[in-house]
Amino acid sequence: MDFSFSEEQTLLKDSVEKFVQNDYGFDGRQKVVRTTQGFSSTHWSTFAELGWLSVPFPENVGGFGGKAVDMMLLMEQLGRGLVVEPYVATVVLAGGAIRVGGSAAQQAAYLPGIIDGSKQAALAYAEPQGRFNLADLVTTARGDANGYVLNGLKAVVLNGPAADFLVVSARTSGGQRDRDGVSLFILDAKAAGVSRRDYPTVDAFRASEVTLKDVRVGKDALLGAEGKGYPILEQVIDEGILAVGSEAVGCMEVLYKNTVEYTKTREQFGQPIGKFQVLQHRMVDMFMEHEQSKSLMYMAAMKMDEGYGDAAKKAISAFKVQVGNSGRFVGQNAVQLHGGMGMTDELNIGHYFKRLTVIDTLFGNIDFHLKRFGAL
C-alpha cells in the first residue's frame, strides 16, 4: 500500500503542468477553438515531442508503457489547462481500443501514427437510440466472403471531423441490446460510404454524426473476435471515464482556486466579498468536493492498475458519480460566486463549467453509473 508517485510519474506530471502554465493561456485557447479545426496542430506536435501521446501504449510499438496512474496524472493537468486538443478521443478511446483489442499487426499499423502525432482517430460507439448502453446497436456489419459491409448511424463521434481513421462498433449478430454480437472495426475515415455532419460541442470540442452506407471493409479490419467486442469497448470506455474524470478534477481545482482569488479582490459594501462567512463556507464546500473527487480518482486509478475486473469497474462508476455530483456543485458555485461576470464567455469560469457539464454526460451520467455501481 503506497500513495507516492514514482520519479517518472512526477516528471510526467511536472512536464504537463509546466506546459499548461507557460504555453496554454486562456486567450490562446479561445483563438484556437474559434478555428475550423478547433484545436492546435502545433500543440499536438508538442504533445508528440514530449511523449504524451505514447503514454498508454506498449513499448514494442514505441509507447511509454504507462498505467492508469500515469494517465490520471497527465489528464488532471490537461484538465487544469482546459486543453481542447483531442487527447481522449485519439489516444485514450480509439488508440485504447486498438491497444486492448487489436492484433499485433493492427497495433503496429495504427499506434505509431498516433504516437508520433501524424494521425488523428475517433471511436464511433454511440448511437442515437442507445443512450449510454454500449451494446444498444442498430448499426450492422454483415459478413461475406471478402469481409464486412457496415450500415448505420453513429452519434457524437468525438474528434470525428479530424479523424484519419475510425474504430466503429457494429452488430454482427444477436438482438439490438445483446452484449454478445457486438463487433469492432477499424476503418478509414474517408472510405467509400462514410459521410459526416460535423459540429462543435457545448465545451467547444468537435464531434460528428457519422453515416455508414454500405461501407466495405476487409476481414483484417475486425478488432478482436467477431461478436466479442463488448468487453473491449467496456474497458476502453472505463479508461475514458478515468481520463475525463481526472480532467474534471483538474478543472475543479482551478475553479475553486480562481473563485477564492476573485472573492479576495471583488469588493461590495466596502470590503472584499470573500470576507463574508457565507461565501467562505461555500468555497470550503467546493474545496471538499474537489478533495473527495480527487480521492476517488486515486482509488479508481489504482484499482484499474490492479487489473480490469468488477472491482475496477465499480471504482470507476463510483468515481464517475462523484465527479458528476462534485463537478456540478463546484461549477455552478464558481459561476454563482463570480456573479454576472461568471455568466460571460470572457472569463474562463464558464468554459470550465461547460466542460464539467459535458463530462457529467460523457460515457454515462450520474444515474447510469449509480445503477451500474449497484449492479456490480
Partner: protein, 407 residues
C-alpha cells in the same frame, strides 16, 4: 501508487484477524456499534465482554498501539495502523482509542518522569482508569461551550456563576473553583484534566483532578440519543497538590491523536442496509444505500490519503477538517437511512430504565439504530476531529477558510 498490501503487511493483517477471532466475542458486538460514541465506549469498557477484550489487548501489547514501543506501544507505521483499525471495524471489535489513550496518555508521556506519571500511564495502558478533559466553560468564546444553557448551575453546589475556573495557590498546592461544561464521558470518568486560570500568575494550567474529590460535583447533560456520558462539572475549593499541575503549556494544543478510521464501520453498516433493501425490494432504499456507499468510498480514500500521502502540513490540516466534516455528515446520513428503513419500528423509544424488563417492542435492532441516528444528528453539528474533541462544522469551515484560503 498501489492499494495492495505487501507480504509482511498481509501477514500482519492475518495475525490481527486471528487475534480478534480468538478474543472478541460476537455476543458483545452490540457494544462495538458505537462509532462516534467514544465516551459511551469508555463507559462500557468495564462490562465483562469488553473487559476481556481489553485485557487481551493489554496482554498482546496492543492496548496503546499508537504509542512508541518504548512507552508500551508498537511503533507501527501508517499502513499497519490502518490495517489494525480496518480489521477491528470489519469484525465489530472496539478500537482501543479514546480520550485516555489518544489524548491524555500522550500529554503524560511528555511530562517529566515521576512515580505519579508512570502509574497513570500504566493505568491507561491497562485500561484501569477513565479520563475526561474539562476545558470548555459556559461563557467561553468557544462556540461549542456556548451551546450550553446559559447560567445553568448544579443545584446546591455553591459554585459562583459567570466565573472562570481558577486555581488559587494555597499552601503546598491550589484550591480550584469554577464550572466546566461539555465534558465528554465525564459522567464515567475517574480522573479529569481540568484547565484553570492560575490566580496571580497571569497564565493558566492543566490540573489533574480525581472526579470523586471533595468539592467536585457533576451532573449528566442528557443527549438526544439518550447518551448519558456527557456531563457538566462544578468545582468548589477543590484541593489540588502542586505536583498535579502539569508542565504542558495550555497555549499549546493538546496532542492530536491518530486518525480514527470511520469508513470501515460505515461500510459494514451500509452493506447490511443494502442487503436489507434488496430483500425488501425497495428501489429507493437501494439507491440511497448505493449513493452512500460511494460517499463512504470517498471517505475511505480521504482517510488513506491522510495516512499515507506526503503532503504539506497546511494541506494535511485541511484534510483533517475535510475528514471531520464529511465523516460526520456521511455518518449522519448512514444512521438516518438505517432508521428510515425501519419504518414504524423507528417510532418506539423505550429507553428508560423502567422499560428494561418489558422486552422488545417490535424490532430488536430498532432502538440502537434510532439512538445512533439521534446521536449522529448532534455529532454532525459538532464534528469531532479527534476523540474527546469537538468543533462545530461552522467553526471548522472558518478555520479552513483561514488556513487553506488565507482569509
Amino acid at each position: 501508487m498501489k492499494l495492495v498490501l505487501d507480504a509482511p503487511d498481509s501477514a500482519f493483517e492475518a495475525e490481527v484477524r486471528a487475534f480478534v477471532a480468538a478474543h472478541w466475542q460476537a455476543d458483545a458486538e452490540v457494544l462495538g456499534r458505537t462509532d462516534g460514541l467514544h465516551a459511551e465506549l469508555d463507559a462500557a469498557a468495564w462490562t465483562p465482554p469488553l473487559r476481556r477484550w481489553f485485557d487481551a489487548l493489554v496482554t498482546r501489547g496492543w492496548s496503546v498501539p499508537y504509542w512508541r514501543r518504548a512507552q508500551g506501544g508498537t511503533d507501527w507505521g501508517p499502513v499497519r495502523r490502518y490495517v489494525f483499525q480496518r480489521v477491528l471495524a470489519e469484525t465489530g471489535a472496539p478500537l482501543p482509542l479514546n480520550c485516555s489513550t489518544g489524548i491524555v496518555g500522550p500529554v503524560l508521556l511528555n511530562e517529566p518522569p515521576s512515580a505519579d506519571t508512570n502509574l497513570r500511564l500504566e493505568q491507561i495502558r491497562r485500561f484501569e482508569v477513565r479520563w475526561s478533559i474539562a476545558a470548555s466553560e459556559p461563557h467561553d468564546e468557544d462556540p461549542l461551550a456556548k451551546a450550553d444553557v446559559e447560567d445553568v448551575s448544579i443545584a446546591g453546589s455553591g459554585a459562583p456563576e459567570r466565573t472562570r475556573t481558577v486555581a488559587v495557590p494555597m499552601g503546598t498546592g491550589f484550591r480550584l473553583s469554577g464550572r466546566k461544561t461539555w465534558v465528554s464521558g465525564g459522567l464515567h470518568a475517574d480522573l479529569l484534566l481540568v484547565r484553570a486560570e492560575i490566580a496571580g500568575a497571569n497564565r493558566s494550567g492543566w490540573f489533574v483532578v480525581p472526579a470523586n474529590a471533595a468539592g467536585v460535583r457533576s451532573e449528566a447533560v442528557p443527549m438526544m440519543g439518550s447518551s448519558h456520558a456527557l456531563a457538566r462539572f462544578e468545582f468548589v475549593d477543590v484541593p489540588v497538590p502542586r505536583r498535579d499541575l502539569l508542565r504542558h503549556d495550555p497555549k499549546v494544543p493538546l496532542p492530536e491523536p491518530p486518525l480514527r478510521i470511520r469508513s470501515s464501520r460505515l461500510k459494514k453498516t451500509l452493506d447490511g442496509l443494502r442487503s436489507a433493501a434488496d430483500a425488501s425490494d425497495e428501489p429507493a432504499d437501494r439507491s440511497a444505500a448505493d449513493s452512500l456507499l460511494i460517499q463512504v468510498a470517498s471517505l475511505e480514500a480521504l482517510e488513506l490519503r491522510q495516512l499515507l500521502e506526503h503532503a504539506e502540513i497546511a494541506q494535511r490540516r485541511g484534510m483533517a477538517s475535510v475528514l471531520a466534516i464529511r465523516g460526520a455528515e456521511i455518518g449522519q446520513a448512514v444512521a438516518a437511512l438505517r432508521a428510515r428503513m425501519l419504518g414504524y419500528h423507528a417510532v418506539p423509544f423505550p429507553d428508560d430504565l423502567k422499560f428494561h424488563n418489558e422486552g422488545v417492542f417490535g424490532d430488536e435492532t430498532a432502538l440502537p439504530a434510532v439512538r445512533q441516528a439521534l446521536f449522529d444528528r448532534a455529532f454532525s453539528v459538532y464534528a469531532a476531529e479527534r476523540p474527546g474533541d469537538a468543533t462545530s462544522i461552522e467553526a471548522l469551515k472558518d478555520r479552513m477558510a483561514r488556513e487553506i484560503f488565507g482569509f
